[in-house]
Symmetry: C2
Subunit: 320 residues, 2 copies
Amino acid sequence: MLEDKILEFFKRYQDKYISGEDLSKTFNISRSAIWKHIEKLREEGYDIIASPHLGYRLLSVPERLTKIELEWQLSTKKIGRTVYSYKELGSTNDTAYNLAMSGEKEGAVVIAEHQTKGRGRLGRKWISPSGKGAYFSIILRPLLLPNQVPVITLLASLAVAKTIREHTGLPAFIKWPNDIVINSRKVCGILTEMNGEMDRINFVILGIGVNINTKKELLPEGATSLAEERGSLINRLEFVRSLFRKLDIYYSDFCNGKIKDILKEYKRYSIILDKHVEVNYHNKTLFGYAIDIDEEGALILRAPSGLNERILAGDVVMLR
Amino acid sequence: MLEDKILEFFKRYQDKYISGEDLSKTFNISRSAIWKHIEKLREEGYDIIASPHLGYRLLSVPERLTKIELEWQLSTKKIGRTVYSYKELGSTNDTAYNLAMSGEKEGAVVIAEHQTKGRGRLGRKWISPSGKGAYFSIILRPLLLPNQVPVITLLASLAVAKTIREHTGLPAFIKWPNDIVINSRKVCGILTEMNGEMDRINFVILGIGVNINTKKELLPEGATSLAEERGSLINRLEFVRSLFRKLDIYYSDFCNGKIKDILKEYKRYSIILDKHVEVNYHNKTLFGYAIDIDEEGALILRAPSGLNERILAGDVVMLR
């Protein structure tokens, strides 16, 4: 689209005026056509001033999670090099899954302002109010066996927790395996899906949903948002771009075998280690003392019997 | 299709003559229309005789892997209750995968006389000459975590090895994880694919390819067929129906938690246990003595250092 190209042109010459004539020559359309495109960009929230002698100048960009804003000078190795942005989708994981099946490359991101059928773990719903959160899914193609995939969930949790801490100062913690909590309330969920054979993964879809500026009343019981916790709005665009960069670094570390380093950092933000917990899976409940998380992402629980249990999946409840 | 219904009618009254008038009344079409349908069935290989006074009688059915022949009085619990049969497909695993994504139920089978893009493990090709083998994929929906899926490959190998032994008397063995060999040559390959999240499997596609009556010259180096090994042709239809029944039993055992029993039997037919082997995975090679297969389907190798290695995937080469 021509608006995108004009926008890129503005961004390249940020803080400078560009004359209507220059734009007209560059894009080979009339000056009144240029004016119409500028009007459209303004409608989308771009603040562009026009000065009779100097021309146009881009003052600010809207805080929206669009392909052009997310990709712009992101300088990551893989994550977010290609972004597919939508106003509304059923589920970003489903769209990313279909793209991956058609061969889309590693690092591509599918993001939506609103999901009508957002999914959480185990078929649960993920509430995705419009324009208030970040709901996206990343296609990954790691050279892995299926049993190593859970570590991707761990590194993603770590990236989210650290981005929240650096970006908002809020005390974000990780509740194994993949919830991010602030003051005991959930602010982010992660859904990792995969397609593969026994001997190798074909691809992983890493779905992340963060409640950023969402009002509490729009969220389910026990959930919160970054804005609710901090008491002020967060720039979603900058937050997501920071998160892409963090994910890029940790994923690269992971691919380079630095699992021990990732785990060490993950454990620092874990809210369940060294605590008495209850773990529920299917109709089974286990009690114990959470002593470790191993290199396959499993939780090691010291059972009341004194024996250690290795737990691969479940919902953790903290006990007092 | 009307031919299928006429065929079912014949099968129900096997060994008996059915008059053209009865058929005409049952299906509410003219006797000459019935005759045309009978002709079509004859063209498909059904041996139907006509007697002026007695009517029609089904003498024999063709040895073809069709929905109607495979499903007929199969009496399994799950496997093969629903069959999708094709003359030709790209890959039965791909078709089954798409069916599973659309919600097709557990136990459904996709089978083809010929695959144009048959796949093996790790993206390898699986050669599927027309009308000589059995190439099929089963949709399974076990309540499992991803790390337990490899056992499905093991139980499938066991079902194939036992069906071969019972049906042909040939000394079939299993080469971990999922090759069936006779006299050191491969006669069957299994490709298990899955779709799931960390906490549960959505579905597994169990793909099985058996070289039944295939001539050696049509097969790759190191491969063989049941007919080549036995020196006589095998009834493919009966073989596949027996295999469905075996798979049904072992899969039911597996779902009921009888993993130890399955493993015990699997190990009896393993050709690599108590042998010196080399295992290749990616660019890594391991040597050792194969001592066990554990409950997650991993091979336990005693390395020359004396330490045990747990191997989840790889190609095994037998050493002398």
